[in-house]
């Protein structure tokens, strides 16, 4: 087994400023992720694919310091944002999470807040001044593809929306703080096909402005939505990065036979 150090070689794409070098993750004694080095291309969608338990969600959570909330977790290696290690000594993790946002598997709008309050909640929580609230709310909901559906009931509770709408509200909420990178942890796995399609369209539009990293179980989704793919695999031991490349190449002509087997649906 080689030390995985796939680099997304992307001369035509600018580098997003986010990369990991030999990143490892542990849960207690369990070594969940081993030696992942990856550079993310800017203004594009990178899909993290692989079977369950291969460490792709763990890797995603390493990227904005959410990993440390799991008891007994540990890590090693470097996660660099514009050249600075986000696990450095004087780094404020809250500031990192402001730049690297996250959308979770289950839609989690704040139930005690209205739709409008949900959208601006990130700014309120971080004590950031809002110049024009109405414009901001409209802009974010528009980018999340939700504006038309909710513009007449912005003061309704976030919980009154359908699952897909709730997830788009969560995306709008993440966008309000203007992150450079948006991490999405299987954002569609709890949704119906129609809502999934809407979210995928939203993701593609988002990638015109920001960098999106999305974990997905769904191979079709990865091929539809992502520009680049990173394939993670665990052979019972810690998960490793097998291969990372342009999505087209990963699905048609991958270098590693394990990638070929996975994308053709032979396992996983």
């Amino acid at each position: 087994m080689s030390n995985s150090s796939a680099v997304l070689d992307t001369p035509e794409q600018a580098f997003a400023g986010l990369e990991t070098r030999d990143a490892h993750a542990w849960f207690g004694k369990h070594h969940a992720l081993s030696g992942v080095s990856l550079r993310f291309p800017a203004k594009s969608v990178t899909g993290l694919i692989g079977p369950s338990g291969c460490g792709k969600s763990t890797y995603l959570r390493l990227l904005n310091r959410m990993h440390e909330f799991i008891p007994n977790s540990a890590m090693a290696g470097e996660v660099l944002l514009h050249g600075d290690d986000i696990y450095g000594e004087s780094v404020d993790p809250a500031a990192i999470r402001l730049k690297v946002g996250m959308v979770f598997q289950k839609p989690n709008p704040f139930p005690a807040m209205t739709i409008r309050e949900n959208v601006i909640s990130g700014l309120k929580l971080a004590h950031i001044k809002i110049d024009n609230e109405d414009d901001l709310v409209e802009k974010c909901l528009n980018r999340a593809g939700l504006w038309k559906e909710v513009k007449d009931r912005l003061d309704a509770s976030g919980g009154s929306l359908s699952g897909g709408q709730q997830q788009r509200l969560c995306i709008a909420r993440s966008l309000a703080v203007e992150p450079e990178v948006l991490l999405m942890d299987e954002p569609c796995s709890a949704l119906d096909p129609g809502s999934t399609l809407r979210i995928e369209e939203t993701i593609k539009e988002l990638a015109e402005k920001i960098t999106v990293v999305i974990v997905t179980h769904n191979m079709q989704q990865a091929s539809r939505v992502s520009d680049y793919c990173a394939f993670f695999l665990s052979d019972g031991g810690p998960g490793v990065l097998v291969e990372a490349d342009q999505t087209r190449k990963m699905f048609t002509n991958p270098t590693d036979t394990r990638t070929a087997d996975y994308v053709q649906g032979k396992f996983g």
């Binding site: 087994m1 890590m75 090693a76 000594e89």
Partner: protein
Amino acid sequence: MSEVTIPQPTRPWQRKRADTTRSAVSIGLVGFISFVIVLFTGFAGVDGWAVTVFLVSVLLIIIRGRKLSAKERGNAKIQLFITAAALLAFAPWISIFGSVLVKGIVGLKLNFVTSDMRTTVPDDELNMGGALHAMLGSMMMVLMATAITLPLGILSGVYLTEIKGRFTFLVRFVIQSMSGVPSIVAGLFVFTTYVSATHGPTAFGGSLALGILMLPTVARTSEEVLKLVPDDLRSASLALGARQWRTTLMVVLPTVRSGLITAAILGVARVIGETAPLLLTAGSSTAFGFNPIKGPIASLPIYVFGMLQIGTEYAVNRAWTGALVLMLAVFALFFTARKLGGKDKR
């Protein structure tokens, strides 16, 4: 597998252990400044020292904090405030436990927990007589009260959360008002209905009075923990074709086992130190009687109360020791509850 060096796991998010020499210097500094203040001001005694050390520490931390950046200082301020508030809340407890320990340890000899007051008068030396009868009496009454109350309390919790019958409102209202009943009233109730109608104070009478006081605590805590069971679990069981009572018995109640144990322990802690109702219903004695429906029985609170009333030096010593044993018993109870309750949590 080829040779891949795996780095050591690290936790960069955990704050580094403070530099030992630096903290030693800080502690030394706090001690020195406090000493000087105590020397030259009116502060004295344990409380004076505590207040001085506390204030000096806070002052020193604030001075140290001036080096931090504005953001860190904001965080540190709030942390300091919360820690200080927690310590302040802790202070009365330390003070109470400290004085009970200091005064009670004098009489805590082996004979205190192995003998009773049958052949000893309270004025005898402390190496004679003890409170075994009171400990056994307390234990017996609390156990009986728990045996009566726990099923009733859990069942009313089940009624309120699972059955949700027509009388939900009434039951909840009665339980809530019961928790406000003064303990002497509970004692009087049992005194008029049971004690005076039979042969005077007995252990059973005492446990009835304690049970009345325990019931609201047990019932409310049970209701609260039962409310925490996710409806998904109930649905899952019902969807398997289970009837409601099987669902409650085999899915809902086992899920909150630790919570129900906590309910019982909270109930016990509520009544173990009760004195007033036992004065009327259980009386006091100098020896333990095994028959719960015949003859008065001693208990630790009544023992403490009685000894304090006698008021001579040795008797007061015995009272403090009784209080110490009572407190230790409560601690032991909470500790066991934590151990038992923690078992089914992963």
